[in-house]
Symmetry: C2
Subunit: 414 residues, 2 copies
Amino acid sequence: MAARLAGDAKRAARVVAKASSSVREQAMRAVADRITVDAELILAANRADVDAARTAGLSAPMLDRLTLDAARLAGVAAAVRQVAELPDPVGKIESMARRPNGLLVGRMRIPLGVVLMIYEARPNVTTDAFALCLRSGNAVILRGGSEAARTNRALGNAIAAGLEQAGLPAAAAQVVPDTDRRLLEALLLRDEEIDLAIPRGGEGLIRFVAERARIPVIRHYKGVCHVFVDASAELETALAICENAKVSRPGVCNACETILVHEDAAPRIVPALVARLASRGVEVRGDARTVALGGPSVVAATEADWSEEYLALIVTLGVVPSLDAAISHIERYGSQHTEVIVTRDHAAAQRFVAEVGSSTVMVNASTRFADGGELGLGAEIGISTSKLHAYGPMGAEELTTRKFIVFGAGQVRT
Amino acid sequence: MAARLAGDAKRAARVVAKASSSVREQAMRAVADRITVDAELILAANRADVDAARTAGLSAPMLDRLTLDAARLAGVAAAVRQVAELPDPVGKIESMARRPNGLLVGRMRIPLGVVLMIYEARPNVTTDAFALCLRSGNAVILRGGSEAARTNRALGNAIAAGLEQAGLPAAAAQVVPDTDRRLLEALLLRDEEIDLAIPRGGEGLIRFVAERARIPVIRHYKGVCHVFVDASAELETALAICENAKVSRPGVCNACETILVHEDAAPRIVPALVARLASRGVEVRGDARTVALGGPSVVAATEADWSEEYLALIVTLGVVPSLDAAISHIERYGSQHTEVIVTRDHAAAQRFVAEVGSSTVMVNASTRFADGGELGLGAEIGISTSKLHAYGPMGAEELTTRKFIVFGAGQVRT
C-alpha cells in the first residue's frame, strides 16, 4: 500500500507542479466550500472519534485538540481560504545576474515534490498541511493519528472533492487510510517518491520518524525557550514579556520554560517577577540565588529542570553573572527554538542576536511570537529546530527549493 | 575516535562561528602560505601515495586525479586564497520587514556548524572544502580516500598550522587519520555533533553514506545531462553546444550524455551532428530514426543506454516528436543535474525552463557551465541533485542556514 500511495502522490505532484497559481487557488477555495457543505458529516465523524478517544482515556488537552465544533470547523475552512490568498512561491525568480561571458544566471523557486506529513490528534493539521502544500505546488500524504482517523477521512473526502472540482488529481492530497505504524515505516523508506517528511507531535513520534526514515526529515524536537532579563532591562517590560511568554498559552512549543536574570538586575527583578508569576498560578523553580531573592514560594530546581519542556504553568528561574553566561546556558540547555533578551542596552541586544544560534532570536518581545503567522509567513506547516533546509517556522516558501536557470546565446566553455 | 573527532569539531565550530570575517580570511591566507612553504613535504607525501596507488593498480584517470606536481599544488594554494576573497555569507541579513504590531522581523545567515566531507582520491578537495567551510563559518571533518591518505595528512598539517597562526583551533578542520570504513560509519551516526554530510565521488560511496547516515546527507548521485535541440534551433549553435557539452571534458558530471533532437529539425541536424561528433572521436548510440538519418557510424542504443552516465566519448542520440516528449524523456531518464534546450523559439525556451525540474536548466549554453565557479558562486563544495536544503552547485552560502531575528519594543501576544 505504501508503494501505491507514494507512486500516486508522485504522479499527482507532477500535475500540481505545472498547475497555475489560480487553479491551485480555485482548488483551495473549493475545498473550503466543501468543508462547509459537508460540515454535518465531518462533525459526526469527529464526535465518533472523540467518543472513542474519551472511552480509551485520552488526556483532556489531547481531547480538546481533537474536538471540532461548528465554530472550529468554520475556522478550519477559513484557514484554507487564507492560504489561498498567500503569495505563490512557485516560479519566483530570486536573483538574476549576468556573468562576464554574457550568461544570465538566476534562481527560480520550484516545489519539492511530495511531502509526507505525520501528526497526531489535531484534525486542523490535515487541512492546513493540504493548503500549504498546494500553495507551494507540492503533493502531500497526510498521516494523522489514529484517534482522529474518522475525522481525517471525512476531511480527506472534502479535500479530494475540492481538488477534482478544480481539475486537479485527488492524489495530490491523500489521507492515509490506515494509521498502522508498519505502513508509516514503509512510507518512510520510499525515497524515490517522497521528498520530505515533516513529523509534528511529541518527541517520541519525531524520534520514531527520524530513526527510520530514508527520506529527509524536518526535526522539531521540543521548545525549551528562554527569556534573558539583562542588567539594563526595564522592570515592567520584563514582567510583561515573562508573563506573556509563560502564561498566555503554556501548552505550546513557543511558551517560555526558563527565565534567566542578570545578577545586576536580580535584586530589582526577581522578587517582582516571582510575585507576578505566582499571581498567575505559575510554579517557580529556582536556583539558590532565586530561592534567596524570591522567597518561600520558590521551589529549588533540580539539574533536570533546566532542560525540561514543561508545557504547563511551571517555569525555571535562574540568576546568571553575565550575558556570556546566559548565552552559554542557552547553548547547553536550549533546544534551538526561541530565545529572547529583554534589555535597553543596544550592544547587548546586538551580541545576543549575533551569538545565540537558535532558530528565532528576539529582542524585547514575547517568545510567543515564534510562529509562522506572527512572523509574516502567513501560516506554518511546522517549526524546524534543525538547521538543514529550513530553520524556525516554515511557511509555503520553505516547502520549495531553488533551481538554477541560465539564459545564453550559444556560449560554450573553453 | 568518532566521538572525539566529532566533539572536537563541535567545540571548534562554536569558536569559528564567532570569529570575524577577517580572522577567517587571515587563516585561509596563512594556510595557503603554509602550503607553499611545505610544498616539498606535501609533494613527497603525494609521490608516496601515487607510487602505492600505481602498485595497487589504480586506474589511469584516478591516478591523474591523485597526482600533484608543483604547478597543481600552486593551484591548490591559489584556490584557497581565492575563497578568502569571496563575500562572507555569515551574518548577512536577507530581509527585514515590519509587522503590523511593530515587530521588525528579519532573517540572518548563520553557519550550519560541523560539516563532514567524504571524498575519494582528489587531494584538492581537502583544501577546497576546508576553505569553503571556513568562509561560511563552519568546522569541517575531512575524510578523503585511503589512496590519498599521506597527501591529505600533509595538507592537514598545513591547514592546522595556518588555523593556529590566525588564532583559530586546529580542530576547525580535521583530516580523519584513519580511512577505515568503520570509523566513517561511526561518524555518520554522530547527529548530535555533525550537522551535514557531503559525499563526493562514485555512486557506491554516496549510497553507502546515504543508507547509513543519521545526519542529513547532500546527495549527488550522477549527472545524466541532456541537450535538447528544438525544432527552431540554429544549426551551428546546436553543433557547437553539443560538441562542447560532450567533448570538452567527458569525465565530469556536467558533461552531456544524451542529445535529443526535435523531429522537425532531425533531417537538418542529425547528419551534421553525427559527423561533427564522429570527427571528435565520439561514439554515437542512436534510436531507430537516428540510425536511419545518421548513417552507418551510429550504433543502435539499448534501453539501458538512455540512463547511462558514460563519463567517456560516447553519447546517446534520439529523435523526439515534441518539446513535451523531450521533457518527459528527461523526467524519466535524467538525474536532475543539468539540461539544456537549444532553440530560437522564446515560448519553447520559457516552457523548458519552467517545466524541467532539474537543478540547473539552461537555454542556448553548454551543460559544462553547471559549476559553482561558472554560475557565480565563486567555488563549489559539491552539486546537489536532491532538492532538500540546496539544489545544484553549492557554494559558501549553501553551507549556511537562516535564523529569524526579531526586534521589538516590549510586544506581547494577545
